[in-house]
């Protein structure tokens, strides 16, 4: 029987001032892409092979097993359907695994691409087709127990033995054990291992080696290899993150990836030609994380906002029925800025992806001029968006009260799956400092009379047009709180001020001390703040720029409201920066705070439609609280009945512990 839609949600949807499908098209990048996405989604969701019990009730081993089962089918079906476009593969995979990681992630995402970019033609012949056909399943073993951020500190060694023309791989210390690589624990039979290369008695730095780790046929670890699962984690239950220890393990010379650097049979080392292209890969992966920040936050917002429209509690007006909790100002204040943030991050993710593709074209033509800035920018934006989304997801869960804490809400899972992105592919604080390094460099260029371009071009104005508190009166009437373009200017001024302050503090430290590194460390809190302000400016700028591309008036109106809310809420939360720099007066801050509250009320009628536009299928959303039909309570009950503790009417511990206790006392 087709369940009725919850009356509250029906009312909410009827009252929306715009068509959610139109906004979905914008998020997808066109109506045709929405159509194709839904087509692929239907392929997965209607396929009985991809259906299974709720994962919340399974043990870690069972979840791993489900994941590997689905991954096997996924690879087969992708080829059967002829889906080859990277983005379409991404959709397919994310519907199959419902936004969770899976054991073949590293094989598909790192092992195969690394073979393509770093293997010689001869190596590709040997490894690529078997890997493509999954006779070889590989992972990418870089991180060690003792080293993540500082790659040069990795301790694994690969020593060349010219006598046998082999590399001898060793994990010389406990800290050198490879730790964390996905798919390593149980799934892979090969790994690309990063190790310090020693030849002719000299260390030549980090290089990549293809190392077989398990016996083909029996899947038992090879002699000299110790490999296993690193144990339970916060999330990532379906992933067998692993450890790998090598003791005098020998591989043929031909297993070093030698497209760039080479070791000749006699042990002579041939240096690589410089390879800036690795920048490109990093930019690409970080742009994926920005997109993931947007999607994960969107999912959490969808759940929290739908649930808040269904949940009724307490009294707003004496004597009246209990209102939807979404009618409370405090609830709106928790959720709507996050909704606006989710939209902002969608547009930022799309921008980076587009820029990356555009620059990739230039790179092929040998023009690398834009790469350093994009690299610096994506480092910061990766950190900025993942931190914000991380906190935002938790705020969404908190906004769902007690039921948010149950796994049936789906938000705990979104959080534990998302939160590692603050650490992997570049620890966030380290990322912020990378961006800061670029900002300081740009600032110094401007100070020495050069001009800078791109997103940092505002620094050109800093030295000329000093931003001083005494200019408040002159500047204050230039900021208009209802005009996104004017708010972009305010954010720009804040970024300029904080970059300048950090650069000056750094200079002051340098004047006091000898060591550059020490001065940098003593300024790093300021530097991170400067980076954050820069990223915040970029996000506001990109969101504002997006508005002019929207043709439908109703959609444009609602996105403008969200953009304003995003920008004003950010000012309100960082009022100190704007006040201290004299960008806004106290009276204007009060006005900003007031306007934020007005916007909450303005956005309220469209809130449900705005999360509907994200267009998450219920299966993908995985939440009882966030169901499209809003039938929350009856489905919570149905879900709970399947809990493992409910398998028997009387739990066995009654006979084992309770009964003996009662009879003894």
């Amino acid at each position: 029987a087709v369940a009725m839609m919850n009356a509250d949600l029906r009312r909410e949807r009827a009252a929306a001032t715009f068509q959610p499908e139109l906004l979905t098209h914008i998020l997808d990048g066109g109506a045709e892409r929405t159509r194709r996405r839904k087509e692929i989604e239907a392929l997965v969701i209607n396929d009985p092979d991809f259906q299974h019990e709720d994962l919340n009730f399974l043990s870690r081993s069972q979840r791993y097993e489900q994941a590997i089962r689905k991954s096997s089918l996924m690879v087969m079906k992708l080829r059967e359907y002829g889906i080859a476009d990277p983005e379409e593969i991404y959709w397919f995979k994310s519907f199959v695994h419902r936004g969770r990681p899976e054991p073949l992630d590293l094989h598909l995402g790192m092992f195969l691409p690394t073979l393509l970019t770093q293997a010689t033609p001869e190596q590709q012949d040997r490894f690529f087709m078997p890997a493509w056909n999954l006779e070889i399943i590989g992972t990418y073993a870089q991180t060690e127990m003792g080293h993540g951020t500082h790659l040069r500190g990795l301790e694994t060694t690969a020593t060349y033995d010219p006598a046998t023309q082999e590399f001898i791989l060793n994990s010389p210390t406990v800290t050198s054990i490879k730790w964390w690589p996905g798919g390593l624990g149980k799934t892979s039979n090969h790994a690309i291992v990063l190790a310090q290369l020693y030849t002719q008695g000299q260390c030549k730095g980090l290089h990549a080696f293809i190392v077989p780790i398990r016996q083909l046929g029996t899947h038992e670890p090879l002699p000299g290899i110790t490999v296993g699962d690193i144990g339970p984690k916060f999330g990532y239950d379906e992933m067998d993150n692993g450890y790998l220890k090598m003791d005098n393990f020998r591989i043929p010379r031909e297993n070093m990836l030698m497209k760039y650097a080479q070791v000749e049979p006699d042990g002579t080392y041939v240096k690589p030609v410089s390879d800036k292209l690795t920048y490109g890969t990093m930019v690409f992966i970080r742009s994926l994380i920005v997109g993931d920040s947007a999607r994960s936050l969107s999912r959490a917002c969808t759940i929290a906002i739908r649930y808040s429209a269904v949940r009724h509690q307490s009294e707003l007006k004496p004597g009246e029925p209990e209102p939807q909790i979404l009618d409370y100002q405090t609830q709106q204040y928790k959720l709507f800025p996050l909704l606006a943030t989710a939209y902002a991050f969608h547009f930022v993710g799309a921008y980076i992806k587009d820029t990356y593709h555009r620059i990739s074209g230039d790179i092929h033509e040998g023009d690398l001029s834009e790469l350093p800035e994009l690299h610096a920018l994506t480092a910061g934006l990766k950190a900025f968006t993942s931190w914000t989304a991380n906190t935002g997801i938790e705020e969404c869960r908190m906004a769902c009260g007690g039921h948010g804490y149950s796994r049936c809400s789906g938000i705990p899972d979104i959080y534990v799956t998302f939160t590692p992105s603050c650490t992997y592919e570049g620890e966030n604080t380290v990322m912020m400092l990378q961006t800061a390094r670029f900002l300081v460099k740009s600032y110094n260029q401007v100070s020495s009379g050069q001009r800078v371009t791109g997103m940092v071009s505002y620094l050109n104005d800093v030295s000329r047009q000093r931003i001083q508190p005494q200019h408040v009166a002159a500047r204050s009437d230039t900021v208009r709180v209802n005009d996104p373009v004017s708010l972009v200017e305010a954010y720009k001024a804040r970024a300029a001020r904080l970059v300048e302050a950090a650069a000056k503090n750094l200079q002051a430290e340098l004047n006091h001390r000898k060591s550059k590194e020490d001065a940098w460390n003593r300024t790093s809190v300021d530097l991170v703040r400067a980076s954050e302000a820069h990223c915040h400016y970029v996000v506001v700028k990109l969101f504002t720029a997006k508005l002019s591309e929207i043709s439908n008036a109703a959609v444009c109106a609602v996105l403008t409201e969200l953009c304003l809310l995003y920008a004003l809420y950010g000012i309100s939360k960082n009022a100190g920066d704007f006040l201290q720099a004299g960008i806004l007066t106290a009276a204007q801050i009060t006005q900003v705070n007031q306007r934020v509250k007005e916007l909450l009320a303005i956005i309220r009628p469209n809130a449900v439609a705005l999360v509907d536009s994200f267009d998450f299928h219920d299966v993908h959303l995985g939440s009882v609280l966030g169901r499209y039909d809003g039938n929350v309570y009856e489905n919570m009950f149905e879900w709970a009945k399947k809990s493992p503790l409910n398998k028997t009417q009387v739990h066995e511990s009654f006979h084992r512990h309770l009964k003996p206790m009662q009879s003894k006392l």
Binding site: M76, D229, L579, K642, N646
Partner: protein, 659 residues
């Protein structure tokens, strides 16, 4: 052997760790008792948490029941009484990983809400565990708003019984601990109906499972509500009642009674009831909120001196990550907060003990203040500490994400405290309501409770600080906090007044100001916390370097708050832009100062390795070895996974189509 990187940190402590531990415990004698309890519990293998991270929900539940049974035996053996000095340390030593916590709430509610006869009937049986109790208040559809509960209890004069029903899905009792699998009885809160008239929510004792074979009683549907973020060891339950009849005597009737003919009689004051609620809020702060933050700080700070990454100076050894300013800026404010909240917790307990004496003398004057305090501080401390634990977790990079670090479970457990015993936003609004009342009274020159007299005080309009050292003067920053609290409250009160005068209805005006009201309530609690920290430091023994290091932490806590909420202090120019730069400078300087004592400061919390249960945070700092050893114990490395034969093998042999 202790990792040399950790050992060297301990050589340079500026204060006596042992003395500070005694200060935290409230005297050396209490330290001794606590350690004795911890040793007794941890030496007993039944209480081991060694394999906890590998266990399923069913295994965790069973272990918790086993421990609950065993701990009673243990206490009897050792001669520890339920209200003796040891008992509070027992729960702490078990890290809360034990069943039947709601059984205590069941007993307390009967003691408070039951008549003498009811107490005599139920308490001895409950004490002897002849029955196991739970406390069923929250429903699927209602948590915050108790008047909205939907469960009904209809009095039937002909049989002298109440008939209990769950009329809708949303009326199902949902969440009560120990109810899913264990409890035989529960206190059910239901709307009382007599002769068709509703008398509001009342408590009833209802038997839900057979005392013989534990099967569900007729008309009762109950079970476990399914997996949560944590509390796998607790069987939070659901309960549906269909025409369940209980005798008239089983409504808890100390304050009101239904007579045989259906006459409803109310007696005595229910105010004491509020006091129970407020005391529960205060009692959870120490064990459920501050201890987890202290544990998280211990783990993260010890790990941060063992972990080396990158180089601060070329050619040197890689630096301890705690030497990076950004890492200090994450962790040290959390450490300062743990101390600040430990002291505010002491203060709240004093306040409550005083209040309790007054109330016993039938003087209820301090109740509104106590209620406002318990609400506001419960909200502020839980929110602050939850975010603190998460910061510690993320500061440990990838390894923090492993369950073996101990941090994920500390986090998922503490964050529940933001919701239970009163959702934080609701609680802050209750505090705000009290503050607005007091502010209005104070402005009109009427007397107000001592904690809020500051609302009437006239203060200088500008912060007098001249250089960054001035901000290490407690008077300077305490006044700044006080000023901010008054400003936020007075501007909100004015706004509320304006709205009402412009013709907006009172409740609408209130809803339109709630964001500001929440902020004002937080500012008040923050101010009191800073003030109390300052006063505590002044009273501390000026021996063994204790007062000095506590003064540094107090300064750090206060300046971190100003640095992080700069807008609030800059808004009306109380602190100028130039002064804010001084705050920042002093704040960053303090990080470097406290850095030197960071490890001794967490050592002073005196957690055993067993209680931390962390591969990263052990006293000896052998982080990597522990991590490797623990990982090998994971069931994923012991069991033969069926996944290989079933899926991987065909995959590797390229027989995909046969799957």
């Amino acid at each position: 052997s202790v990792n040399p990187d950790l050992a060297s940190e301990r050589l340079t402590a500026s204060f006596s760790v042992q003395r500070l531990t005694a200060v935290l415990d409230g005297g050396a004698e209490r330290t001794r008792v606590r350690r004795a309890v911890v040793a007794a519990i941890e030496s007993d293998p039944v209480f081991s948490r060694e394999n906890q991270y590998f266990q399923s929900q069913n295994e965790r539940y069973e272990a918790a029941v086993r421990k609950a049974v065993h701990v009673r035996k243990k206490m009897q053996e050792l001669g520890w009484s339920e209200d003796g000095p040891e008992s509070i340390y027992v729960y702490r030593a078990l890290s809360g990983d034990v069943a039947f916590l709601l059984h205590r709430v069941f007993m307390r509610s009967i003691s408070v809400l039951g008549s003498d006869r009811q107490v005599a009937k139920w308490i001895p049986r409950a004490t002897e565990y002849q029955l196991i109790g739970s406390y069923a208040q929250t429903e699927l559809g209602h948590g915050t708003y108790l008047q909205g509960l939907e469960t009904t209890a209809v009095f039937d004069t002909s049989t002298q019984e109440f008939i209990l029903n769950t009329p809708t899905i949303s009326a199902m009792k949902w969440w009560p601990g120990d109810m899913g699998r264990s409890a035989t009885h529960t206190v059910v809160f239901a709307q009382l109906y007599i002769h068709g008239k509703c008398y509001g929510v009342h408590p009833f004792i209802v038997q839900i499972r057979s005392l013989r074979d534990h099967s569900l009683c007729p008309g009762v549907t109950a079970g476990d509500i399914g997996p949560k973020m944590n509390f796998e060891h607790i069987d939070n339950g659901y309960l549906m009642l269909q025409n369940v009849r209980i005798p008239r005597e089983d409504m808890l009737n100390k304050f009101c009674e239904v007579q045989p003919d259906g006459t409803y009689v109310r007696r005595g004051s229910q105010k004491i009831n509020y006091f129970t609620m407020t005391s529960v809020r205060i009692s959870l702060i120490a064990d459920e909120v501050i201890l987890p933050l202290m544990k998280a700080c211990t783990i993260a700070i010890r790990y941060s001196v063992v972990r080396r990454q990158s180089k601060l100076k070329p050619g040197e050894e890689e630096a301890k990550i705690l030497d990076y300013q950004t890492q200090q800026e994450k962790l040290l404010p959390q450490l300062a907060a743990a101390y600040a909240f430990h002291f505010i917790n002491n203060y709240l307990h004093e306040l409550f003990n005083r209040g309790y004496k007054e109330i016993q003398g039938r003087n209820f004057d301090s109740l509104p203040e106590l209620h406002a305090f318990s609400s506001g501080f419960k909200a502020m401390v839980t929110q602050y500490c939850t975010s603190g634990v998460e910061i510690c977790l993320r500061a440990c990079g990838g390894h923090g994400y492993s369950l073996l670090s101990g941090l994920p479970s500390l986090y998922t457990k503490i964050l529940a405290s933001c919701i239970y015993e009163g959702e934080n936003t609701i609680l802050l609004l209750q505090t705000a309501r009290f503050l607005i009342k007091c502010f209005t009274a104070a402005s009109a020159g009427q007397p107000v409770p001592p904690s809020v007299t500051y609302l009437a005080a006239m203060k200088p309009r500008r912060c007098p600080a001249k250089d960054k050292l001035d901000f290490l003067c407690p008077d300077i920053y305490t006044e700044a906090y006080q000023h901010a609290a008054i400003r936020l409250l007075s501007s909100t009160a004015a706004k509320l007044q304006d709205l009402i005068q412009s013709g907006i209805e009172k409740h609408d005006a209130w809803n339109q100001c709630t964001v500001q009201l929440v902020q004002a309530a937080k500012a008040h609690c923050h101010y009191i916390t800073v003030k109390n920290f300052v006063e505590t430091v002044e009273k501390l023994e000026n021996k063994a370097g204790i007062r000095k290091i506590m003064k540094h932490l107090c300064d750090l806590f206060a300046l971190h708050g100003i640095f992080s909420n700069a807008g609030v202090f800059l808004h009306d120019g109380y602190i100028s832009g130039a002064q804010m730069d001084m705050v920042t400078a002093s704040y960053l300087d303090l990080l470097g100062v406290i850095r030197k004592d960071a490890v001794p400061l967490v050592d002073a919390f005196d957690f055993t390795d067993e209680s931390l249960n962390s591969a990263l945070g052990s006293y000896n700092g052998q982080v990597y070895r522990r991590l490797y050893e623990w990982a090998q114990k994971s069931p994923t490395n012991k069991q033969i996974s069926p996944a290989y034969e079933r899926y991987l093998k065909p995959l590797l042999h390229n027989k995909l189509s046969k799957l």
